[in-house]
């Protein structure tokens, strides 16, 4: 069980440079998303969201059918499907294939699914070199950090941070101009692409009726990773399925816009099997590793299974006032922000990080921007109730439970409620006063006062004033 990382959160809030970096980057993404989803620019945006939600709902509720359909078409295309229960099975397959083929160097394009199972570490542990080729991911690999954000993994790094990392890890001269920095990375990575034995990618969508893997990106590194090496392995969660190629028309319209404010990303690759005899480019071998890693557990809950609709656009992170304060690394798993807060407890069990569903003001901004209309606040509420139940089973949280029981009892007894309020006012209150301190403040009162002043209870409650007003009028 992880405790609330209070110290680390405090450090993030106190780091003005970090706060500035997060605010600038997420703010830019929020503005760009807003601009390309406005009714003037995209009149059918809300309908697209509804459609996307319905398509995902249909797919998730018929997942067994679409998984088999996908396998059938992929196989017909000459690809090979590998079912993986978890990260160990994914790594084992790749390791054994690499051994058979004598492969040593792997290039990787950006994939949250492989981050989820810490694939690089597993491969490196067995002597393979796995190089991230997305610029942000590459920076973080050099810095030995996990992604800060689903879409913009190095969002928290300024160009000065990047200059330091490149100088230290690549031995190049300090370079703070972003364009020059990308050229440095390009030079290093180009060599890796040409020498790589295997390319590993994720998948944005798996198209069942064509057996294709759809990948969107802006840097061209995913296209290179999936076509230059002789072997391409796509690692994807089972929830990435969509029924038909034409459904991409809905999702591609939403994904780029929601993620980076682009009507379409620079590259959209739809990969359907290995190189054919008439084709010039492409891998000789094409594998799709379909991974469960806890996803089928989510299918069991009819309300919360919508968490699997997520297309990993990151819009909920950018708009989330909590993410923007505490940053990506204070979430317990690689999935941060609101989507992380709802899927982490479902994958790992609510008692792993019992504080997580409570770390939200329930402002609802996430649900408003979600392109597949996941009801994130409602799921957070459901998870809170689950945490409380689990805690009570373990004999924890008894005091809080008791407090709410007493409170509920009081709220059902108006006379006592009034008496309690009046007593509180008598003890604390003076007319029109805000309290900057309360003697012997503990618990919630102390927590409130650490950031704010506290309104003293009104000397006379509304109900009392109302009675007096009525009496005064002789009513």
């Amino acid at each position: 069980m992880s405790e609330l990382p209070e110290q680390a959160i405090h450090a993030a809030l106190a780091d003005s440079r970090l706060q500035e970096a997060i605010y600038t980057a997420t703010g830019r993404l929020v503005d760009k998303r807003k601009a390309v989803t406005s009714p003037e620019v995209l009149p059918d945006y809300q309908e697209l969201r509804t459609q996307a939600h319905e398509i995902k709902k249909h797919t998730i509720e018929n997942l067994d059918y679409y998984l088999e359909l996908f396998e059938r078409h992929l196989t017909a295309n000459g690809g090979k499907l590998v079912w993986c229960r978890d990260g160990t099975e994914v790594a084992d397959f790749i390791l054994s294939l690499a051994k058979q083929r004598g492969a040593r160097l792997i290039v990787k394009s950006k994939s949250m699914t492989t981050e989820e199972i810490e694939l690089n570490e597993r491969l490196e542990h067995h002597g393979l070199e796995a190089v991230e080729t997305d610029l942000g991911e590459y920076i973080l690999q050099l810095a030995h950090e996990r992604p800060y954000h689903i879409v913009a993994p190095a969002l928290h790094k300024t160009r000065y941070d990047v200059a330091d990392i490149f100088t230290e890890k690549l031995g190049v001269q300090r370079e703070v101009v972003i364009e020059q920095q990308t050229l440095i990375a390009r030079r290093v990575l180009r060599e890796k692409f040409l020498a790589a034995d295997i390319g590993i990618s994720g998948a944005n969508f798996l198209v069942a009726d064509s057996g294709s893997v759809a990948i969107v990106e802006n840097e061209g590194n995913a296209r290179l990773s999936t076509t230059a090496p002789k072997i391409h392995i796509a690692v994807a969660g089972i929830e990435k399925l969509i029924p038909r190629a034409q459904d991409l028309a809905v999702f591609l319209k939403l994904l780029g816009r929601s993620a980076t404010g682009q009507p379409l990303t620079v590259y959209t690759s739809i990969l359907s099997g290995p190189r054919r005899s008439t084709e010039v480019d492409g891998p000789d071998e094409f594998y799709v590793l379909l991974m469960d890693n806890g996803r089928t557990k989510l299918l069991a809950d009819s309300q919360k299974r919508q968490s699997l609709y997520c297309i990993r656009c990151g819009a909920c992170l950018n708009i989330c006032p909590v993410y923007r304060k505490i940053g990506g690394h204070n979430y317990p798993w690689v999935y941060s922000g609101p989507i992380g807060a709802i899927i982490t407890p479902q994958f790992h069990g609510v008692m792993d990080d019992p504080w997580l569903p409570f770390a939200s003001s329930l402002c609802g901004a996430c649900a408003e921007v979600c392109p597949v209309k996941i009801d994130l606040p409602q799921i957070l509420l459901d998870l809170r109730a689950e945490v409380n139940k689990a805690k009570l089973r373990e004999g924890k949280n008894r005091l809080e439970k008791l407090a709410f029981r007493l409170w509920a009892w009081l709220m059902q007894h108006p006379k006592l409620y009034e008496f309690a309020g009046a007593s509180g006012a008598g003890l604390l209150g003076e007319e029109g006063r805000w309290l900057s301190q309360v003697p012997l403040a503990v618990g919630p009162v102390k927590a409130w006062l650490s950031e704010r002043e506290l309104p003293a209870p009104a000397p006379k409650s509304f109900r009392r004033l109302w009675r007096e007003r009525r009496a005064g009028r002789g009513a």
């Binding site: 649900a367 945490v387 409380n388 709410f404 309104p455």
Partner: protein
């Protein structure tokens, strides 16, 4: 003949900001409504619901349903409490058909104050006069769960002497979030500071909202930081002459 309306003033306003309830009553009386205040009312149950205590929330919600069962119009000076009753009671009573039926009946009879003025009373100009440079804070539940956006601004635009300025960004949360504010005080306080910066940038001397809980957070944090911006509920402004 004047219609009769029932007030649900919410526990926060009853105990901490009774002047807001009185102001709301003033506005409604001036519009000719006869006012009923069911004395047995307490809370809508949201604190327990949002904290994950469903059973406790249900108990309080049942009490609410009983108290307001016969009311034709229930008017609430809070977007958050209105939304709790309108949207979340159904979730609470999924397994209690009789209560579910009652919750659905009440859903169409409960009105957030500004929505009632605009959609039922059909009035934009309540004859208010209030000298201030003000900015309007969109409370999250009013904005996103009840779609209250232009309404309060339209009402404020008709207040004589009031200049309304928009915040940039306009829709960010103040950081209150009920128990969130005391479970994560530092994060909540950080969110309040971001909100306050947006308020200060407008140069307004008054911040107005339809939720007293947001205003408690905003004003509490402003006082702590030594800023002199008034925080007022929409009803208080509309009741001014």
């Amino acid at each position: 003949m004047a219609a009769r309306v029932s007030l649900f003033v919410t526990c926060i306003i009853d105990q901490l900001f009774p002047q807001v309830g009185l102001a709301m009553a003033d506005v409604l009386e001036r519009l000719g409504y006869e006012i009923d205040f069911p004395e047995a009312q307490t809370c809508c149950g949201q604190p327990a619901y949002n904290s994950g205590y469903r059973e406790e929330a249900r108990q309080v919600a049942r009490h609410f349903l009983d108290v307001f069962d016969g009311a034709e119009f229930i008017i609430v000076p809070s977007g958050s409490c209105t939304s709790m009753i309108r949207h979340h009671y159904e979730d609470l009573f999924r397994k209690e058909p009789a209560r579910l039926e009652q919750a659905r009946r009440i859903r169409d009879r409960i009105w957030e104050f500004s929505q009632f003025l605009l959609e039922v009373a059909r009035v934009e100009d309540v004859g208010a006069r209030f000298h201030a440079v003000a900015t309007y804070h969109d409370s999250c539940h009013a904005l996103r769960e009840l779609k209250i956006k232009d309404g309060p601004r339209r009402l404020l635009a008709r207040v004589r002497g009031l200049e309304l300025r928009e915040m940039d960004p306009p829709e960010e949360c103040c950081g209150f979030g009920g128990t969130f504010s005391v479970k994560f005080p530092e994060v909540s306080g950080g969110m309040a500071r971001t909100k306050i910066d947006a308020i200060l940038r407008t140069g307004a001397d008054t911040v107005i909202s339809v939720d007293s809980s947001c205003l408690m957070q905003i004003e509490g944090a402003m006082r702590k930081a030594g800023h002199n911006v008034r925080a007022l509920h929409l009803a208080e402004v509309l009741a001014s002459r």
